[in-house]
């Protein structure tokens, strides 16, 4: 690990408890100053991976590197990391100042240095007036700020976040999300690894997202990549709300065929050579389906019966049925359409994703 641009990396990390395997042969390189989000549903191993990096869980196999050091056998405190937890995990009997100082005192930091760092963290996080309060006297948002401060005073290169915003209400969550992003910009070269199950947090915060399932990384890429070119069917359905429409069918003669529908694949970028006579899943996001007048310009346009309309204000979700599958179309909120009517929709393969029916990998 002599590469200066790599901050954290894991090599062939595996972890199992008896018969249960949580992480499988997981290798990942995280760049210096990068904001990496580990995203997945509960039980996918994302928190376990974070705990392995922190040194709070011991991998069965594999190694962890931070900076240019192999930290696999080091104590959490020796790894140069700060960590923020979902439940804040503040020490209830200590004041905010006591919470911030605890780690520094453990490291026998000189008094003036402690004061300097606490003052700096308090200024960055605007918790100066709260320093002499106990955690019980703080609101959820303030507590989480103190928890971030506790990582900040440690003056480390790597921040680990374990679902830090999940205990907050929706409004506070979005404002703290912005603050976190600002903090990341402000600190510049600090690497942040962030675990969440919330795809909005993942998309808005991340430089890169690692989507995990069953202890493996399904896809590692920028938010645009995981959204635009999902590498597996799982990722395609996990990212995006409402999730991607999936049609079952066949690739043959340069087109996707399902029932009596035929979508020409001229504009589709295949991963390798275009397959032929292969069972596939054709995925297209609700927002990439053309509707109304624009539908006729698409390579395939068809009449669809509107079953349900969900108005969202700016948008409208129109639920129809295509080739027997529920099919959602996102339309402009002002489009006049009601359940029971018929609309014209257009499908263009250039914005779609094709997955092998068996391996579920992108083709």
């Amino acid at each position: 690990m002599t590469d200066q641009t790599i901050s954290v990396s894991t090599r062939n990390l595996s972890l199992g408890y008896g018969a249960v395997t949580v992480l499988r042969d997981l290798s990942i390189d995280i760049g210096k100053g990068e904001f990496l989000v580990l995203l997945g549903s509960s039980g996918c191993g994302k928190s376990t991976l974070l705990n392995c990096i922190a040194g709070l869980a011991e991998p069965t196999e594999g190694q962890v590197f931070i900076g240019d050091r192999n930290v696999t056998w080091l104590e959490p405190a020796e790894r140069g990391i700060g960590m923020v937890f979902q439940s804040y995990a503040l020490y209830p009997q200590m004041t905010v100042r006591g919470n911030l100082e605890f780690g520094l005192k453990n490291a026998r930091t000189p008094r003036d240095e402690i004061d300097r760092r606490v003052a700096r963290a308090a200024e960055i996080l605007q918790i100066g007036p709260l320093l002499d309060r106990k955690p019980a006297q703080l609101s959820g948002g303030q507590r989480q700020r103190v928890a971030i401060g506790r990582a900040l005073v440690r003056d480390v290169d790597v921040f680990l976040f374990d679902e830090p915003l999940s205990n907050l209400d929706a409004k506070l969550r979005s404002s703290l999300r912005v603050e976190l992003k600002r903090l990341h910009q402000q600190l510049g070269s600090t690497t942040m690894i962030y675990v969440t199950h919330d795809q909005v947090e993942a998309m808005t915060l991340a430089d890169r997202i690692a989507i995990m399932k069953d202890g493996r990384i399904q896809q590692l890429g920028t938010p645009d990549e995981v959204y635009g070119r999902p590498s597996t069917l799982y990722v395609a359905q996990f990212i995006g709300s409402p999730s991607m429409n999936i049609l079952k069918g066949l690739v043959a003669d340069g087109a996707f065929i399902t029932g009596d529908l035929k979508v020409p694949l001229d504009g589709y970028r295949f991963v390798a050579a275009a397959p032929s006579q292969r069972e596939v899943r054709f995925g297209i996001r609700p927002e990439h389906v053309a509707i109304g007048r624009e539908a006729d310009a698409a390579p395939l346009s068809l009449q669809a019966h509107v079953e349900l309309v969900e108005p969202l204000g700016s948008d409208k979700l129109i639920w129809t049925r295509v080739a027997g599958e529920a099919f959602c179309v996102r339309a402009d909120g002002r489009l006049p359409v009601a359940a029971g009517e018929t609309v014209r929709i257009g499908i263009d393969a250039s914005a779609a994703s094709l997955f092998d029916a068996e391996t579920e990998a992108r083709v």
Partner: protein, 305 residues
């Protein structure tokens, strides 16, 4: 139906007003208070008899009216119980027994609570290979009748030369208190968010620092419970006191028994009553002083453990 038809109806858009409806004394409520009263009286009558008798002189007691208040209040029985009553061969009252009990109590309570909190912390947060099995064994220890272990314990103490001494009894009390109190502390620590422990490790605190700086200050409620259980248990102990010590080291309970069960001479009921109250005073005080914390600690363990 119109609002005007209902005299008590509240007009729309106004707040409730008028006098607060009187709470009627319902049948259930009367039953509850009545049974509480009966139970309270049932427990208070013996106490009243004891206090009243202890303040009477022997001639008054011979009249036989045990519920009657003392006509001529005298504190002589109390003085006698404390410093002159005969406990076997010597007639020095309960005072020696009291001090023996204190000398037994303090180190046993301190040691058992300290060790139990530490082992509870280990079982809850520093799981090691086989720690669950180890804990199960300890729990088995809590449920084996103490009588079964007396003879081996006597042999063991005799081997190391502590049999009959106060220190032997202190060790016995400490050991026998460990299983239950370890369970209390373990459950309490297990109920604390695991993330606090993780945060402390990231902050660079080791085994002892996490224990002393984070866990111990948080364990006050359960420490109070544990302390009360140990104080009352050890103070009220009679069996171990008789078995593991010699007459000069007898704790207060044993000496009380010797005073009350004297077969020679006149039975001095007033002295016996005073001696009994004196002996019960320590656990009673502990309950009164820390009752509130006790209930809170029990509840904390019960709900979260």
């Amino acid at each position: 139906m119109h609002a005007a038809d209902m005299p008590n109806a509240r007009p729309l858009g106004t707040d409730p007003w008028g006098p607060k409806p009187a709470q009627r004394l319902s049948g259930t409520r009367i039953m509850v208070y009545a049974s509480l009263f009966v139970i309270a009286v049932y427990y208070l009558i013996p106490l009243w008899v004891m206090v009243a008798t202890s303040l009477k002189g022997m001639p008054e007691i011979r009249l036989g009216a045990i519920f009657a208040p003392p006509v001529e209040v005298t504190f002589e029985p109390w003085v006698k119980a404390w410093s002159q009553a005969c406990t076997g061969l010597t007639c020095e009252g309960l005072a020696t027994g009291f001090w023996n009990s204190v000398i037994i109590l303090i180190p046993s309570v301190v040691a058992s609570v300290a060790i139990a909190s530490l082992s509870g912390y280990v079982f809850a947060q520093w799981r090691f290979k086989g720690s669950e099995t180890f804990f199960m064994l300890l729990m088995v220890g809590a449920f084996i009748p103490h009588q079964v272990m007396i003879y081996p314990m006597v042999m063991l103490l005799a081997q190391v030369g502590l049999y009959g001494s106060l220190w032997g009894l202190i060790i016995v009390h400490t050991l026998f208190g460990l299983p239950l109190n370890t369970l209390l502390f373990r459950n309490y620590f297990a109920s604390l968010p695991e993330e606090i422990f993780k945060a402390a490790r990231v902050d660079g605190a080791g085994f002892w620092r996490i224990f002393f700086k984070i866990m111990l200050p948080l364990s006050l409620p359960i420490a109070v419970v544990s302390m009360i259980l140990q104080v009352t248990g050890i103070w009220n102990d009679f069996l171990f006191g008789v078995i593991f010590t010699t007459p000069s080291n007898y704790p207060m309970t044993v000496q009380l028994n010797n005073i009350v069960n004297t077969v020679q001479g006149v039975k001095e009921y007033n002295v016996n009553m005073a001696a009994t109250i004196l002996t019960g005073l320590v656990p009673l005080t502990v309950y009164l002083v820390s009752g509130r914390l006790f209930v809170r600690g029990i509840a904390a363990g019960a709900v979260k453990g």
